[in-house]
């Protein structure tokens, strides 16, 4: 009835800006959350970078779930995010299509049948950085480097391999659950932890519900959903 | 073989029906008719821009178009028909200057530039070669269109009122040149006009069109002398056409009853007493009688009372329309200086003498009454 902003502020829906790569797991958790409370959640999926810019320029959101801890830290530093939140970490996998012989080590990517290897953006995406590190620690980076294909994000990297445009993808365990292919989970010691973060926005007009939602994420039920999707709780800073 | 064009075409255009049939040899053949008679449509059909519903068009024995019940269809592309067409609206290329318009067809030929130069000169446009169409006057545009069609060296030249925007002296010069060119190149020229003088100046033969049909063909003098019916007569500019009944024949001529007025005609027409005839009165042979001067011998016949209805001036003559006692309007023509003493305001009464020598009978097939 009044300005769009006021309308949104009085809207009972909890707005969660979330990285697209988290869409599957967060949808599952929402179902769980909404059965236990009266709160209703709506997601705004996008790339973490875009979502960060939106929050930075004053978009009103309640919770931010970033695929990269780095963005979260920046925003928190700038005062857009509260301390309330949690940190997750994911696992890097080498995904291969069903008709391809799966790998058992990272080294095997040097095999010539992997003419193209997809990975996420090596600067902006945490999984992309992790992939480079894993290749480096396995001492195969220089060999496979010419065959690397950089996708804008982990999801697209997976799509490349799924569509047969790449022969393998270095992607996230959280994405491969429902795919036809096979994957090898890269040992955690081959790369720095891939950190994801979820936090309450300071500008949230529904801070109460936002905190309730974030708190719910560290309940055992939610944690098991995370783990089923290849994400693992690192730390949680609860509201209370 | 000498050039020869045969045209038979029928085409429905909305409420208008084109249905023409004529042939032209190595000559200037004039299509003459009122506005909307179907002259441009005929040219369009020949050029291949309008497809007849039925008909046949051949040029020099080559079939340009044919579409007939049960016959094989032929429809030669416009560009292969070898026509040069001057559109009534010129249709100059607005993005090309005069010289490039003219050179459109010959651009690639050796000595194209000279050819264009010569054409410009011929059309008295030498200084305007660089002008774009919108920088040319109407008459200049028209001349560019003529030059462009000629430069293409067609077998058949279609001219749609090609000199309508030109002044008399220029027109005459170009007409002479065109006739010369036609003879040199042995072209068939179809010349559309509604100017009778142009038709006579240019036309070896003429076809009179009305409502899409050819009413009469022939040498212009012959058509003017013996129009097939009163429609043709009217189109050919003949004035004072009336219907009257023959009441008597005598060695000196025929006597008519013209709606109550008895007319004595000098014409020895082959009409029988009692028949209806179409006659016309040559306007120059209608004399106005000075009210207070005794009747001279030359104006002693066919004197009728009348009333001035209108007055019009032209450069070499004036003409007066008068309503005579039976209600008909009679036009008379005289030198500009004549009758200047008379009061010829509209409504003024006057007496006319219709000289018997000026009353002619149309030699026509049983005419429809109008």
């Amino acid at each position: 009835a009044c300005s769009p902003a006021e309308e949104r502020a009085s809207d009972p829906l909890l707005l969660v800006s979330a990285a697209s790569s988290l869409s599957r797991v967060l949808q599952q958790i929402r179902v769980d959350f909404e059965t236990t409370t009266a709160d209703r959640v709506v997601f705004n999926f996008g790339s973490s970078g875009s979502l960060t810019q939106q929050i930075r320029h004053g978009a009103t959101v309640d919770v931010f779930a970033s695929a990269s801890q780095q963005y979260l830290d920046e925003l928190r530093h700038e005062g857009h995010l509260a301390d309330t939140g949690l940190t997750l970490h994911g696992r890097l996998v080498v995904w291969t299509p069903p008709d391809e012989e799966p790998v058992a080590t990272v080294d095997e990517l040097t095999a010539l049948r992997f003419r193209r290897i997809a990975l996420a953006h090596t600067k902006l995406a945490p999984y992309g950085r992790a992939a480079i590190e894993a290749l480096q620690s396995s001492h195969v980076l220089t060999q496979v480097e010419p065959r690397l294909v950089q996708a804008p994000d982990v999801l697209t990297a997976l799509r490349y391999a799924e569509s047969g445009s790449a022969d393998a993808a270095l992607t996230a365990l959280s994405l491969v659950g429902d795919t036809d292919g096979r994957w090898y989970t890269v040992p955690a010691d081959l790369h720095l932890k891939v950190q994801l973060g979820i936090a309450v926005a300071t500008g949230s007009p529904r801070a109460q519900q936002a905190r309730r939602f974030v708190d719910h994420l560290s309940t055992p039920a939610a944690v098991s959903i995370f783990e089923a999707n290849g994400l693992f709780l690192t730390t949680a800073q609860t509201a209370l | 073989m000498s050039a020869r064009l045969l045209v038979r075409a029928r085409r429905r255009l909305d409420s208008f029906q084109l249905d023409v049939d004529f042939e032209a040899g190595s000559e200037t053949f004039v299509l003459f008719g009122a506005s909307g008679a179907g002259k441009s449509s005929t040219l369009n059909a020949i050029a291949g821009l309008l497809h007849p519903d039925e008909g046949e068009i051949t040029l020099d024995g080559e079939m340009l178009f044919r579409r007939e019940l049960g016959g094989a269809r032929v429809n030669l592309a416009t560009r292969q028909r070898g026509v040069g067409y001057v559109f009534q609206n010129y249709a100059l290329f607005p993005h090309l200057n005069a010289a490039d318009n003219i050179g459109f067809a010959v651009r690639r030929q050796p000595r194209a530039a000279q050819q264009v130069e010569k054409m410009l000169e011929r059309m008295h446009l030498s200084h305007l070669g660089k002008h774009y169409p919108h920088e040319l006057s109407g008459g200049q545009q028209q001349r560019v269109a003529i030059a462009r069609a000629l430069a293409h060296r067609p077998r058949l030249l279609l001219l749609d009122e090609p000199f309508a925007a030109l002044d008399q002296p220029l027109k005459e010069r170009l007409q002479v040149e065109l006739l010369q060119l036609r003879r040199e190149l042995d072209l068939v020229v179809l010349y559309v006009t509604h100017n009778l003088d142009d038709a006579f100046a240019m036309g070896d033969r003429i076809a009179v069109l009305q409502e899409g049909r050819v009413l009469q063909r022939g040498r212009p003098e012959d058509v003017l002398a013996e129009p097939a019916d009163s429609d043709v007569a009217q189109i050919m500019g003949i004035r004072n056409i009336f219907h009257a009944r023959v009441t008597a024949r005598s060695p000196e001529g025929v006597q008519f009853d013209w709606d109550g007025i008895t007319l004595q005609a000098g014409d020895e027409a082959s009409v029988d007493t009692g028949e209806w005839a179409t006659l016309y009165i040559v306007p120059e042979e209608v004399k106005i009688i000075y009210p207070d001067v005794p009747l001279s011998d030359t104006v002693s016949h066919n004197v009728v009372d009348a009333e001035v209805n209108g007055y019009q001036r032209a450069a070499t003559h004036h003409s007066l329309r008068a309503k005579v006692s039976n209600g008909a309007i009679v036009e008379t023509r005289f030198a500009p200086s004549a009758y200047s003493e008379l009061d010829l305001k509209a409504g003024a009464p006057l007496r006319l003498a219709l000289r018997p020598a000026g009353i002619r009978v149309l030699r026509q097939r049983r005419g429809k009454r109008r």
Binding site: A5, R8, G46, H57, G58, A59, T60, V61 | L13, N89
Partner: protein, 221 residues
């Protein structure tokens, strides 16, 4: 699938109206005139075409954002609302309308505008009754292009309006989400829907395009 469609149509219609007014107005203004800095103005209009939509969105974010002029002066907080999507679609679709209709308007035979003036038509009358009908095809091309572009707008919209189902999630965003979450069936269904919308509107608009008559006043051919 239906909520995004309705929202998309709503945004597209609003954006198209804005584009027609602003883009059409600029086209009319610049078709025949050569104001100083014309090239600059045109470049500005075209900029959203050469930049990635998400970058356009980024700049819009700055303009519409909390520290931007719209928020501080007009006190309008448009972010994450459907009007923001309209603005994004408008900015991105504008150059298409501008360029296509400017070309058509500049090609209208000036004689016909002149004769309308002798008949007492005001400049607005000339525009409305002569120029635009004669430039019809190009103007419609501009409308079609910008409307379809607005309908398909994605990158800038995502940035300023967000991707909130039921609130700002237009059909393209929904398609994107479906593709991202590997829901190929839903994605294909929505692409088909989009195609149908495009087909119907093209078919509808074509009736104006063909119009009564070709542009000429020549002899019958």
């Amino acid at each position: 699938m239906w909520a995004p469609l309705l929202l998309s149509l709503q945004v597209t219609v609003a954006a198209t109206l804005l584009i027609i007014c602003i883009g059409g107005g600029l086209a009319v203004w610049l078709a025949r005139r050569e104001p100083r800095g014309r090239a600059l103005i045109e470049t500005a209009i075209h900029l959203p075409l050469v930049l990635p939509p998400s970058v356009v969105g980024y700049y819009l974010l700055i303009v519409l954002g909390r520290r931007g002029p719209v928020s501080t002066w007009l006190e309008w907080d448009l972010l994450f609302s459907w009007p923001a999507a309209v603005i994004a679609a408008t900015v991105v679709g504008m150059p298409l309308m501008f360029q296509a209709s400017r070309a058509a308007i500049a090609s209208v035979n000036p004689d016909l505008e002149q004769v309308a003036r002798t008949l007492g038509a005001s400049e607005l009358g000339v525009l409305w009754r002569v120029t635009l009908p004669l430039a019809r095809r190009g103007v419609i091309a501009g409308v079609v292009l910008s409307a379809t572009r607005a309908l398909g707008e994605f990158g800038a919209t995502l940035m300023v309006a967000g991707n909130i189902p039921g609130r700002t999630q237009t059909l393209p965003l929904a398609i994107y989400d479906a593709v991202q979450s590997n829901d190929t069936d839903l994605a294909n269904a929505m692409v088909l829907l989009m195609t149908a919308v495009g087909f119907v509107s093209l078919w509808w608009v074509r009736r104006f395009d063909i119009g009564p008559r070709p542009q000429r006043s020549g002899t019958p051919v």
